[in-house]
Amino acid sequence: MPAQCDGDPATPRADGRVRSLRNLWRLRRYLRPYAAAYVLLLLAALAATGAGLAVPLVVQRVVDGPIARHDEAGLLRLGGLALLLGLVEAVLIFIRRWSQSSSSVGMEATIRADLYAHLQRLPAGFHDRWQSGQLLSRAISDLSVLRRFLSFGLLFLVLNMVTYVAVVILLLRLHGPLGLLVAASAVPLFLISRRFGRNYHAASRRMQDQQGDVATLVEETAQGLRTMKAYGRGPELADRFAGRARALHDTGVGKGVLLAGASALFDLVPNLTLGVTLVGGATLVARDALTIGELVAFVSLQLMLIWPVQSLGWIIANGQEAATAADRIQEVLDTPPSIVDAPGAVPLARSAVRGRLRFEGVSFRYPGSAEPVLREIELTVEPGETLALVGATGCGKSTLLSLVPRLYDVTGGRITLDGHDLREVRLDALRRLVGVAFEEPTLFSMSIWENLTLGCPDADADQVRAALALAQADFAYDLPWGLATRVGEQGLSLSGGQRQRLALARAVLGRPKLLVLDDPLSALDVQTEALVEAALRRVLRDTTALLVVHRPSTVALADRVALLDGGRITAVGRHSELLATVPAYRAVLAAEPSPTPGLVRS
């Protein structure tokens, strides 16, 4: 997919790593509510480490002191101290883990809710281009990577750094030159970390993108299951899936190999340093520049460095994954919603709206395509009037309708309602005024009631009943649980006509000022269509309406008809008038095939 404009699934750029870290850092605002908890848990972790170190010291004191001196009281006293320290250690660990559990999960949930809210604000154009699996993997997998980093990686990064620095300082104080030697081992460690981090960063990003691809395919498969079954294309899809799963597998193995190499090196460096210390230290002792006791103490301290260094590989890996995850999340959060309230947008009260809808020189081009779909549309729908839109398949009828509730914004000209540019009306006020029925009835796997009251949550039972009656959709009451019945996903447990009637009922519920109906009767049988038509006619009498129509029979609903051809309105008038005077109009509605092929437009 070519990078077209903002909001496109971006490809990571060369400066990726710096940007990722910045993106990770930008997420810190989510940490803020938990700052106190985080400080507490850091302190608890440090104190627990201290207590953990103190226990063996006390035990050693007991063995060397009271036991050696046969001092029973002392044994009890110091033994009690060891017990106390042990309990304190456990309690501190408990405090750390407990507060960690709420803060990291809390942060994860907050970011996820914000991400979802943002996705809901982003316009249809964004959702057209983004694969749903990529969004999902950001909301689920990436966020759990972040959670793991916040609860473990970050903590151990800090803890281990502190340990490392503290131990090195102690070593330097014990013996300067040998201490410097140990400190110098930070140089190869740094180099290894840098190279590892760079390679791992790229692999981690690739893996997360591939996870999104897998999720996308899975979702598509589940949705297109009927089509897959109808053609028996299971094996092909399984192959496609195998390809993506294998790509994921290969990246996973690649990541693992990188980590294995780095981890082994992070093991080797402190070991070699220890070896050098041994040789150097022994030589110093031989020259009496160091006592044996000091060397033993030095080595014992140095052994404490092994774990912090060893875990570096894992911590860096975790950190890089978190950074690329943050990157992916910010890519979405950084996409500004393009269809929002303009500053100073007016709320249009329902009572103040007469319903005069005008298209003034409206042009529209889909983001990312070169050719405009609509050019210089001039069209007026008078208050209370019903205008039918007629045109060949793919000429832009649905596109035109989607501009009215501002699912897309015009790219040229303007649409006005009672003289107000739609972009200067508050979005929610506008959408409250407009009732929409899409070409494909969009139903959700929720109760019928919830599906019907999508735009009107406070509708009462009578309003719902009236809307259902109008759309001839009383069958809903006969479902096993009545209106509380859950419709299957996408409403597929209903017949096509049933779905369409529910969608129509939803559009007219709450008596919108402006009705926008896209081919609302296409899936109905002739008789039901006649009934719905009769009922709809009553509603349309005092509502401004724009409808797309394919069948001559439905055109009768409209006061006037507009013919859309080549992205322009080429004729407007009464049905009979146009039929008599406009051959193109006749061609589109005629039952007999037109002599010219290629009626379908791009």
């Binding site: 046969h70 694969q131 997998s141 045109g391 069958f475 006509g497 009768a556």
Partner: protein
């Protein structure tokens, strides 16, 4: 109509009614909605599923037994080398310094050499071990993903209808992820920690038996604690798997319908719902984390108390002269190293519990028997041209037990006939189509193709012979050409274009920015509804089946285009059997035979010309339609 018994209200994680959580979802008509059949709530079912999931894990690991053995051996080598290091350092200090003082660097060089060998061995063993375990883990995940995906493809439309796509996605993403977490870090820590616990235990026993006996006192507590954790966490993780599935279901579904969401200002309500399910997920995972936050320090307490006890008891023994101070000191040192890996083991146990909960969900899916199974020994269709006779013999069918849609339907369509099915919406026309495409099996009676019961045909053979094109035809992400080629994967570009041309779709496709290579976007969103239908037609055309079923497949086309499509089909399908469901009589008139369906019964049957004159329903419709013509 008889109503199914009212369901128990679903309950949330800790048993509190989740009514406020889920009333908007409405009541499902199938008690098994949202889950596989194996995921019953009864304790036996839970236990059975747990057994299944463990068996699945073993099954997945079985092919990797050898590499696993090699990895463990490498781990042993690495651990030995790692233990040798500090020992060699101490040895060097004890034994190599005096000779060095005396001017003999030999022993120091020897120790240093041994040390270097140990370090390099450790490096090599660790690297190789980690590489191998990654390979094994990733291979297991790959296998698991493919297995679950493959199985989901074989499950019936009915299963997917109640299970929902969001849940399918959740199984193959989030659940597999949580198994990956175990695979990534788990095996490493398990093996290393278990190894050191065992070796230290041996040393402890060898050092001092009575003290080791005191240590044993800790075990009942450890056992009891672990059992508590096992039970509590299994439940917690099970809840959190279900909670994340709900998050995914809502996420996927609401964003899929984003146009409706925005047009109807549904965002606040959606956000409210999302926050509720998201918070439930937060709550359940937090509960899981809190369990491990309790379990792990509790083990620490047991360890530290045991150390103090051993210190007291050992000290008393030393005072009594029963034990050496040195032994006590060593014992205490090792005792700590005995309990330290326990922390890691508890961490592993936690990951295992979480992965098992996910595996349970996957095992539940794998356990699900295909509702429309492939026959064990398929019968081939009789060969030869001009085939495609369809017979419905006393077919009864209902989506739900109490509501039959078809009862005792009988229908014989000779090969090559074009049959139009008309009738009010909800009459059962699409149901007939779906039975013929074997999306469902009849409850009673048989559907036959050329005298063979559909249930006896292999899936590949059936799909080659019968293709169903519906109103809600799905386009997959990819190019236009790929979508047409879905009808026949081995078709050449020329064949794809020919199909598009025949159907009248070529012109619009050629005018797209990249022609046939134009990406159609998610679910074909780049195309208009009518264009999508045309692509779906070209696809069916390319598939070239014996029997073609069109279920309102032209509903979004303008009249002339529809005509064009019908003409194309009429020429191609002259010798094919076709079942056409349409509302427009223009389509119906060209059929050989018309069936009027009402309430699941065929009420009129005959040629359009004959029916138009007999004064039945068709005649009435026909008149109505004539009047509406321009």
């Amino acid at each position: 109509m008889s109503r199914p018994p009212r369901q128990h209200p679903p309950t949330g994680g800790d048993g509190r009614p989740a009514a406020e959580l889920s009333h908007w979802r409405g009541l499902a008509t199938d008690p098994d909605a949202d889950r596989s059949r194996a995921e019953d709530d009864s304790p036996e079912a839970v236990a059975r599923l747990r057994g299944r999931s463990r068996a699945l894990l073993r099954d997945l690991l079985r092919p990797h037994r050898r590499p696993l053995g090699a990895a463990v051996a490498l781990l042993l080598v690495q651990n030995t080398a790692a233990m040798a290091g500090p020992y060699l350092v101490m040895l060097g200090i004890d034994r190599a310094v005096p000779p060095l003082r005396a001017g003999d660097p030999g022993p120091l060089a020897a120790v240093a050499g041994a040390f270097a060998v140990a370090a390099v061995t450790e490096y090599a063993a660790r690297r190789s071990y980690l590489t191998r375990s990654t390979r094994i883990g990733q291979a297991v995940l790959l296998q698991l993903r493919q297995r679950v995906y493959g199985h989901l493809l074989t499950l019936s439309v009915g299963f997917h209808e109640r299970y929902t796509s969001g849940r399918v996605v959740s199984r193959l993403t989030s659940d597999v992820d949580s198994i990956a977490e175990l695979v990534d870090g788990g095996i490493d820590t398990l093996a290393a920690a278990a190894l050191s616990v065992l070796s230290v235990a041996a040393i402890l026993l060898w050092l001092d038996l009575p003290l080791a006996a005191v240590t044993l006192l800790a075990f009942p507590f450890l056992f009891w604690l672990s059992r508590w954790f096992a039970r509590a966490s299994a439940q917690a993780y099970r809840h959190s798997r279900e909670a994340v599935a709900l998050v995914i279901v809502h996420f996927v579904e609401s964003l899929r319908g984003i146009r409706a969401v925005q047009a109807f200002r549904r965002e606040p309500r959606n956000q409210q719902i999302f926050v509720t399910v998201n918070d439930e997920y937060r709550r359940t995972s937090q509960h899981g984390f809190r369990l491990i936050a309790t379990y792990s320090p509790a083990i620490k307490v047991i360890g530290n108390v045991t150390v103090a006890l051993v210190l007291g008891y050992g000290g008393w023994r030393v005072l009594g002269g029963h034990t050496d101070v040195g032994v006590l000191a060593a014992f205490l040192l090792y005792l700590r190293r005995f309990f330290e890996p326990m922390q890691e083991l508890s961490q592993f146990y936690n990951s295992l519990q979480s992965a098992t909960a996910a595996l349970e969900k996957l095992a539940g899916v794998l356990d699900e028997q295909p509702g429309v199974p492939e026959p064990a020994s398929p019968v081939p269709l009789p060969a030869g041209p001009g085939r495609g006779a369809v017979t419905f013999r006393a077919v009864s069918f209902g989506y739900r037990p109490q509501t039959p849609i078809l009862t005792g339907l009988g229908l014989a369509v000779p090969a090559g006939q074009t049959v139009a099915l008309i009738g009010p919406t909800g009459a059962g026309k699409s149901t007939v189509a779906k039975l013929l495409a074997r999306f469902h099996d009849p409850d009673d009676g048989t559907v036959e193709l050329d005298g063979v019961d559909l249930r006896a045909l292999s899936d590949a053979e059936l799909r080659r012979a019968v293709v169903l094109v519906t109103q809600e035809n799905h386009l997959f992400g990819g190019s236009v050409a790929e979508n047409i080629r879905f009808g026949r994967p081995d078709a050449t570009d020329a064949a794809v274009q020919a199909a598009a041309r025949a159907i009248g779709a070529h012109d619009f496709i050629a005018a797209l920015p990249d022609g046939y290579a134009t990406e159609v976007h998610r679910r074909g969103g780049r195309l208009s509804a009518g264009q999508r239908q045309l692509v779906a037609f070209a696809r069916a055309f390319l598939a070239d089946p014996r029997v073609l079923i069109l279920d309102e497949a032209t509903s979004s086309l303008d009249v002339p285009t529809e005509r064009l499509v019908q003409r194309a089909l009429a020429t191609v399908l002259r010798d094919r059997t076709a079942l056409v469901i349409a509302h427009r009589l223009s389509t119906v008139e060209t059929a050989d035979r018309v069936l009027v369906v009402d309430s699941g019964r065929i009420v009129e049957d005959g040629s359009p010309a004959r029916l138009a004159t007999t004064g039945g329903r068709y005649a009435a419709l026909h008149r109505q339609w004539r009047d509406s013509l321009i």
